[in-house]
Symmetry: D2
Subunit: 369 residues, 4 copies
C-alpha cells in the first residue's frame, strides 16, 4: 500500500535507506522445494554493484547478501525468505551539507512535501541503492523461472545518441563490457561520449532493452493485469525510467494495421507461429509463447558537478555545486534491475496462471473426472 510491496502471490517487501544500517527484502510466497543459495543471488548483485567500472561511482558498497530465513538445507521451505545487505560505507557527514537543499532532478523536495520529515542522507529511501533489494528478490525469481527454462536478457541499447546497431548485435558480448552493450563498435563510441560527459561534469541518459525467451503461453490476465501493463508498472517503478515500450512501441502508432498485425502460419511441426513479432510477445495482454520484447528510457543521472540553479529550505535561490563522483550514466547498472523487475512480474503471472483452469486444479490434486 505504501509502495514497497509488490506482487500478488510471489510478494516482495523491500526496505532500507541508502545510509541506514542495512537494506533488504522479504519474499512471501516463493514455492517450497526450490534450490537456492546465497551465490545464486550474489552474482546478480555484483552486476549492480558500484566501483567496478570507469563509468560508475567508485563507492565500494560490498553488497554482500545474507539469507536469514526461508531456506533450509539448500531448498526453500515455502515460508518467507528474508534477505539482508548491510551497509558498510555509511559516511553520513558527506551529505549533511545538502540536507536543506532541494537538488534538481532528485526527490528531496517531493519527499519533504509528502512526509514533512525525511532521511536526507544520500537520498535516503529514494536512492538508487534501494534497487539492490529488487535485484536480490529478482535473482530468486529468475531461479524459479529457470525451472521452466525461461531466460531473461537485458542490455544497454543506447547511451545518449549512441545506439546499438542490430547488424552488430552480439549477445555474448553483453557480459564482457562495463556498459553491458551487445555491440563492440557501439561500446567504443559510447565510451568516448561518456568521457566527454565526465569532462563536462555532466551526465548521459540511455535506453535498456529486455527480451524473454521460452515464456509459457497464457501469462497475463484480462483487463488491468495484462502482461504488458504489469511489466510497464514494474520497470517504470525504477527510479530513473521515463518511458517503456512493448514490441514496436511508439513506432506502432505510425504503422497501419496491415503492417503491424503479426500473421499466423502453421509450421511443419503443426505448431502455430507468427511471421513477425511486432506485438512483442503478447496479445490481449496474454503471452502467446513468442519472445517478450520491451524497451525502457532512462534519464541522465541527476547528480552532476556542473553548477545548477536550486533552492534551499530557508527560502533562498542558490547556485548548487555537488561535489564527489557520481555515475555519469545510470543505464549500465540499471540493466540487471530491469531484468529483475521483469522476472518478478513474470513469476507472479506464472503462479497466478496455475489457478486459471479447472483442468490444472485436477492435475495438481490428482482429481479424476
Amino acid at each position: 500500500m505504501a509502495g514497497s510491496i509488490l506482487g500478488d502471490i510471489f510478494k516482495i517487501s523491500t526496505w532500507g535507506e541508502s545510509h541506514g544500517k542495512a537494506l533488504g527484502v522479504v519474499i512471501d510466497g516463493c514455492p517450497a522445494g526450490l534450490e537456492l543459495s546465497e551465490a545464486d543471488i550474489q552474482k546478480d548483485l555484483d552486476r549492480r554493484k558500484p566501483g567496478q567500472s570507469p563509468f560508475a561511482t567508485p563507492r565500494k558498497e560490498g553488497d554482500k547478501i545474507e539469507i536469514l530465513s526461508g531456506v533450509f538445507e539448500g531448498r526453500t521451505t515455502g515460508t518467507p525468505i528474508s534477505l539482508i545487505i548491510y551497509n558498510k560505507n555509511q559516511k553520513s557527514k558527506d551529505y549533511s551539507a545538502l540536507k536543506d537543499v532541494y537538488r534538481p532532478g532528485q526527490s528531496d523536495y517531493t519527499y519533504d512535501l509528502k512526509y514533512g520529515h525525511r532521511d536526507h542522507r544520500g537520498s535516503g529511501r529514494s536512492s538508487g541503492r534501494e534497487t539492490a533489494a529488487r535485484v536480490a528478490a529478482g535473482a530468486v525469481a529468475k531461479k524459479l523461472l529457470s525451472v521452466l527454462g525461461i531466460e531473461i536478457t537485458a542490455y544497454t541499447a543506447s547511451i545518449g545518441p549512441i545506439e546499438v546497431d542490430p547488424d552488430n548485435f552480439d549477445q555474448n558480448y553483453i557480459m564482457d563490457n562495463f556498459l553491458y552493450m551487445p555491440d563492440q563498435d557501439a561500446v567504443k563510441k559510447a565510451e568516448a561520449y561518456l568521457t566527454e560527459m565526465i569532462d563536462e561534469n555532466n551526465s548521459s541518459g540511455g535506453t535498456i532493452e529486455c527480451n524473454v525467451k521460452n515464456v509459457p503461453a497464457g501469462l497475463g490476465d484480462p483487463v488491468f493485469d495484462k502482461c504488458e501493463a504489469l511489466l510497464a508498472r514494474a520497470v517504470m517503478s525504477i527510479g530513473a525510467t521515463k518511458g517503456v515500450e512493448m514490441g514496436k512501441g511508439f513506432k506502432a502508432a505510425e504503422m497501419s494495421g496491415y503492417e503491424h498485425n503479426d500473421f499466423y502460419r502453421y509450421n511443419d511441426s503443426g505448431e502455430i507461429i507468427k511471421e513477425t513479432n511486432n506485438a512483442g510477445g503478447t496479445l490481449g495482454g496474454i503471452t502467446d509463447g513468442s519472445e517478450i520484447q520491451l524497451r525502457v528510457a532512462v534519464k541522465p543521472t541527476p547528480s552532476i558537478e556542473k553548477t545548477q540553479l536550486a533552492v534551499n529550505r530557508s527560502g533562498e535561490n542558490i547556485n548548487l555545486n555537488i561535489h564527489g563522483r557520481h555515475d555519469p550514466i545510470i543505464v549500465p547498472r540499471a540493466v540487471v534491475v530491469v531484468e529483475s523487475m521483469v522476472a518478478l512480474t513474470l513469476v507472479d503471472l506464472l503462479l497466478k496462471n496455475m489457478t486459471s483452469r479447472i483442468d490444472y486444479i485436477k492435475k495438481v490434486f490428482n482429481a479424476e473426472n
Copy 2:
C-alpha cells in the same frame, strides 16, 4: 487477481463481454457524501460511444448507464456503487463465422491458450467494449477529483504520421472535432489520411497525450507505487496501447543531466517553482504540484478488411477476410479511456496519501497535539 479489479482504496471491479447481456463495474471505496448522478457518468460514456463519427464504427451501442446501488438521495453513501450498461445490439450470429479462426492482432489465440474455452463473440471480454466500464468508473473518479479542483485533459496527439503542431495547440478545439485533436490543421490532414486508410481497407495507429492540472503535491509512494509506475500500468492496460512516456520520455534518454534537470527558483510569492517540467510532474515517483504530462502509443485497429494470413483451429492456414465496418483508428474513442485510467490512478493515490502523515490523522480525528 484475475485482472478485472483495480485500485487499493478506490477499488473497481469490472465485468462483461462484448456480446453478453450487459457490462458494468462495481466501485468499492468511494467516499461518502459525493454528489453523483447518472448524467455525470453518461457524458463521458457518450465520448466513447461508437456511431458518432465517419471515422468510427456505426454500431449503435446506446451505452445507457444505470446506477444500481451506493447512491442515495443524490449522494454516495460509502457503500459499493454498482453501474450497469445493457447491451442492446447483440448480434451473435455476425461473429459465428470467426469462432474457429485466430485473427492476427487479436486475442483469439491467447485466450484459447490460457483458458481452453472462450466467448468468441465480438472478442468477448477482450473487446474494446470492455472499456465502457472503465469510463463509467473513471467518471466517478473525476467527479471526486473535481472536489479538489483537479482537471484531466486527454487528446489525440498524432494519427499515423500526422502530429499536432504545438504552435497550433488549441485546447478548446479538442471537443469540437470527432478526432479530439487540439489543432485544426492537423485534423484536416488526419481526416485525409484516415480516408486513405479506409479506402485501402486498412487502419491507422496514433498517440494520445494526457495532462493533469492542479494536482496536489505528495501523490505517489516510494519504490513500486511511484505515480508514473501506476499511471503506466493503468494506460498500458488499455487493449491497444504499446508504449507510454512521462514528461520528455524517450527523448530524456538522449539528453544530458544538465539539460534534463528542472531547475528550481522561488517566485515572487515565495513559492518554489520549476523553470521547466521535463520530468512531467513527478520526482522520485511523487507529484510536486506541477502538471502531470504523459503520452501513450496506440496501435492500429487490428480488424481490417484487407486480406490477411491467418490460421484456424483445424490446423489450416487461411486467407482471412473480415467483413463489416470497424473503426479505422482506435485513438479518438480511446481518448476518454486514457483520461479515465489516469483519473482512477490519481484518485487512489490521493486517498492513500491521506494516511501518510501523523498530522493528517490528527486533522481528521480532531486530535490535540
Copy 3:
C-alpha cells in the same frame, strides 16, 4: 478495502442495498471450464429466501438469480462472473418512519457516525438481505469444490436454550425442516420455544455448526492466513455473529494438553489417522485431511415489536415500537450463509495452495525434472 471485496484469488465483490434496485456480486478469478448454470445458484438462494416458514418473515423477495457474464455455453470462461438479483418488493415508505431513529442492535447509529449519510431504508447496506449476494457467490464456490469431492454441511445446532442432542443427530433430516436442525426432538422443542418468543414480541439467538468432509490436506498458510483465521473472519463477517470456535473451541481452554492433543496412528492401509479430532481439522493453520468442524454464535434478531428504549437524531429519548413481522430468529436462514462463507474461504485457500510447491508448478506446466 472498503469491505465489500473478499478473497485473494477467487475474489468476490458484492454490492446492493436492501431497498435499492438490485443487489449482486462479481466473481473475478473463477477458473475457466467449470460447468455452471443459474439453477446451481438458485437452489442455495431458495434456502435463504424469506417467506417459506412460520418462523421467518413473510416478505416475498423472489430472489431470482441472473448470470450476466463470465459463462459461455454452460461453462465458465475465466473472466468475471456477474450475478444479479433484482429487488421486487421495494416498499420504501414502510421505513420512512424510522429514518431519524437509532434502533437498538442495528447499525443505524454507527453508519451515521461513519458516513454522515446513509440509505436508511430497511437497514440499507447492512440489511441481512446483503447475504443473498454471498450465497450466490458461495454456490459457485461450492460447485468448484465439488470437482474435488469436497462437501460442506451446515445446520442449526441450537435455538435459544434448545440444543441438538448428538445422540439424535440425523444429517438427512436437516433439509426436511424449516429450522435446518438435524434432530427431530430438538426441532419440536425449538418450535415451541420460538412460538413463545413470537407471542412475547421477542426473538431468539442460536448457534450454527458447519462440517467439511474430503478436504484436501495442505489448505491454509502459515501465520496470518491460517485456515481457522480466515474461516473465523469469514463467518464473523455475517451480520449477527458474535463468536466462532474450531474443534473443541472454548472447551479446549479447560482441557489439559494430554486430553486435547489428537494422537496419531497408522491405519491398516498405511495411512496416518488421528484417534480424535479435537483440533477440528487443522494444525498450525493447515488442514490435515480430517473433517473441518466449526461453530458460530448468532445473536437474536434485533428487530422486535416489544417496546424498547431508543433515541432519535433530534436529541430525544424515545420508546420505540417497531411494527411489521420480522424473523423471530436469524439462525435458520443464516445456515446457508455460513455454508457459503466457508466455501468461499476454502476455494480461495485451495487455489492458493496450488502455488505452494515447485512440483505442482512442474505438473501444471508439464516440466521435466
Copy 4:
C-alpha cells in the same frame, strides 16, 4: 498471499524460523512523523520473552529488537520500518531427534503435507517464537494508536478451570504477576493448578480477554471487513487459539432480542450512550465509541513430557516422549500477542476510515467547500 503479510494500509510482513539466524518484520505504511525508539518496542517484547517465570520455559532468548530502517532522528519517515531480532540460543541438535516424528498437536505433519520440505528445528516457522515479530509490529501500532488516546488492555481471564472473578477485578494487578491475571485470588489458585499440571508432565489451556478504550467511532467497514471479523481473524491467527467471542459471544446465542439489544439514551451532556454493552463495542461491524470487548480461547501447550501416541515418517507407530522444559501454559505469554494483534487490526481500520468521507478529504487537503 502466502500468509505472512497482514494489513491493507499499515502492512506488516513477518519472517523467521524458531532456530534460524534471526526473525523480524517489515512495516510498510506507517505514517511519517511518529516518535519511535527501540525502547518503545522492547518493553512489549519483554512481556513475551521466555525465562521470566516459574510457569514459562527457561530458554533465554534475549529478544533484543533493532530498528534497521524507516526511523530517522527519532521519528518515522513514512518508508518501511524493518525490525530484527537475532536468535542467540540456536541449539539445533536439541531437535534433530524429532525430525522424522509427527508430534500430536503440532504442525509437523501438516507442514510436510503442504510443502514436502520443512525446517523441523523447534517447529520452524510455526513455532510460537514467530509471534515475537507480531509483538514488535504491534508495539509500533500501539504507539500510533496512543496519538489518539486509544488504550488496549489484555489479560489472562482463565487458566484451565480457574476463572477471574469479576468482583475481584483489579486492572493494576495485571502487570504485577507472572500470569497477567487481574485477580489476586485467581492467581493463587491458578499457580496451584499449574504446579499440578507440571507435576503430571501435562499442560493447561486458558482464555484471554482484551478491552479497548477510547476507540473512535466509525472503525470497521461494511460486509467483509467488519471490525469484529478482522479482529477474529487477527486473534485466530495466533497459533494456539481455538475460539473468539465479541461482547456476550456464545452467551448471546441463548439470549432473547430484548435482553441482548443495548438500549440508547441521551446523557446529560447530550451525548448518545448505551445502557449496556452486550455487543462488545460494534454494531453492523462498525465501532460506536464504546469499549471493544473480546475473549479468546487458547488450547493447552501441545508439547508435554507425558508419553503420547505418535507416528514417524518411516511408517511406524511410536510412543513419544518429549524431553526438555516447555511452557506448561501458553496463555500468559500470549497476552501481549493478543494485544498486538488487536492493535494491528485497529490501526489499519483507523487509517482506512480516514478515506471514508468527502469531508475528511477536504480537511486533509484544506479544500474549500
